[in-house]
């Protein structure tokens, strides 16, 4: 009895407070309540995304230099854009980026789809193999960059040792990161090693989404395995493959960390992808206005590709 009265004494103020809160909230419409909840997020987005973007667009039309912030800025109009879009060095950096993007996407797609196709056949221990294959993807790009630098060491590197063993050459006879011809391929190999599992995951999702009855119908029609692959597996997994291609294409277009750790853009400028050129202009030459214009050019490209990516994603979702 005492307990009851105690609990009722405790419950009473809460019960009395509740109508007051609901009364206060009852005055707000659903729309106002929704705005109340999303306003902090919108403010945060404005502060850390939209404002820097607008500020960068403004800086791209000026001669502002971050290391001389006190010097009055001068309006230059489209001068930086014109300068970047007629500069053969920036064009060369774009071609290095193209080499990196095209080859990584091709290798990752072919290997990723192949691995997904194999993993999809449920063999003994396929779960463990899937986990092992996924390991590189879980590592930090900084870690990957550092330990591949060791693997590529001409004297002690395991990669050089294995290649030397297979092709009958001395491991120190070639330098993956120091050679003008080999270094663009060195960064392609590392990116492919790290991100093929991701493409495999997306392709695996695509393969698992194909209903079994389609294969059963093909079996009834006595379609060969090759015919089933070309007429069922590949067309039905294609939207997922496209998704992986677009995602990896966008990610590699703005690749910075791993390439910076592995080669820093060298030797010379053979691995100087666009983001490294941008970093050099912004934080080594301190040409802030110029690098802002370059950043906007890269941003528009990535934004355009991201629109296509979202469209492809919606198509996959609607399937």
């Amino acid at each position: 009895m005492n307990e009851l009265s105690a609990s009722s004494r405790i419950a009473y103020p809460a019960a009395a407070a509740q109508p007051r809160v609901t009364h206060r909230l009852r005055g707000l419409s659903d729309r106002a309540l929704a705005w109340l909840f999303i306003t902090p997020t919108i403010l945060l987005l404005l502060a850390i995304n939209i404002f820097p973007l607008i500020w960068t667009i403004y800086l791209s039309f000026t001669n502002y230099r971050a290391n001389r912030a006190n010097v009055p800025t001068r309006w230059l109009g489209l001068d930086w854009y014109q300068s970047i879009l007629t500069d053969p060095d920036i064009w060369a950096a774009m071609q290095v980026t193209a080499h990196f993007v095209i080859w990584t996407v091709i290798i990752e797609t072919v290997l990723g789809f192949g691995l997904a196709f194999l993993i999809d056949k449920k063999f003994r221990g396929h779960g463990a193999w899937t986990t092992i294959i996924l390991l590189p993807m879980m590592l930090s790009p900084a870690v990957v960059g550092n330990f591949w630098t060791f693997l590529y060491q001409p004297q002690i590197g395991l990669f050089n040792y294995v290649i030397g063993f297979v092709f009958g050459r001395a491991p120190s006879s070639f330098q993956m990161l120091g050679d003008v011809t080999l270094s663009p391929w060195a960064i392609v190999i590392v990116d492919a090693w790290m991100w093929t599992p991701y493409v495999m995951l997306i392709c695996l999702a695509g393969l698992r989404s194909i209903p079994d009855y389609i294969y059963e119908a093909a079996e009834v029609d006595r379609a060969s395995k090759l015919r089933q692959f070309w007429s069922i597996t590949l067309p039905m997994a294609l939207p997922f493959i496209m998704l992986a291609v677009l995602f990896r294409g966008i990610e590699n277009f703005k690749m910075f960390d791993m390439v910076n750790l592995l080669t820093g853009g060298g030797p010379g400028s053979t691995t100087e992808v666009a983001s490294i050129t941008l970093k050099r202009a912004a934080f080594e030459s301190w040409r802030t206005g110029y690098s802002s214009a370059f950043a906007i050019i890269l941003f528009v490209t990535v934004f355009g590709l991201a629109n296509i990516y979202v469209k492809a994603l919606n198509r996959v979702k609607s399937r």
Binding site: Y81, T86, P88, V300, T301, F303, N307
Partner: protein, 70 residues
């Protein structure tokens, strides 16, 4: 008169068919893709110079046409 009316209806049919989100989005996507290819191709500096304008046009077009009715 009836011929004119049928011609107008036919023209409106063609416009209705073209001014739908699907074909316009496909056109915008093609323009963006062309801009990206122009940016990274190794053949012509002139194409490279026009790449940003092309990509920007395609992106703005994509944003606008994504609001067009289906």
């Amino acid at each position: 008169m009836s011929l004119d009316a049928s011609r107008t209806a036919a023209r409106r049919g063609i416009i209705d068919r073209i001014l739908r989100r699907g074909p316009l989005e496909a056109a915008a996507t093609a323009i963006i893709a062309a801009g990206v290819v122009m940016l990274m191709q190794p053949l012509s500096l002139t194409l490279y110079s026009w790449s940003f304008t092309t990509t920007l046009f395609g992106t703005v077009m994509f944003i606008i046409v994504s609001k067009v009715r289906d």
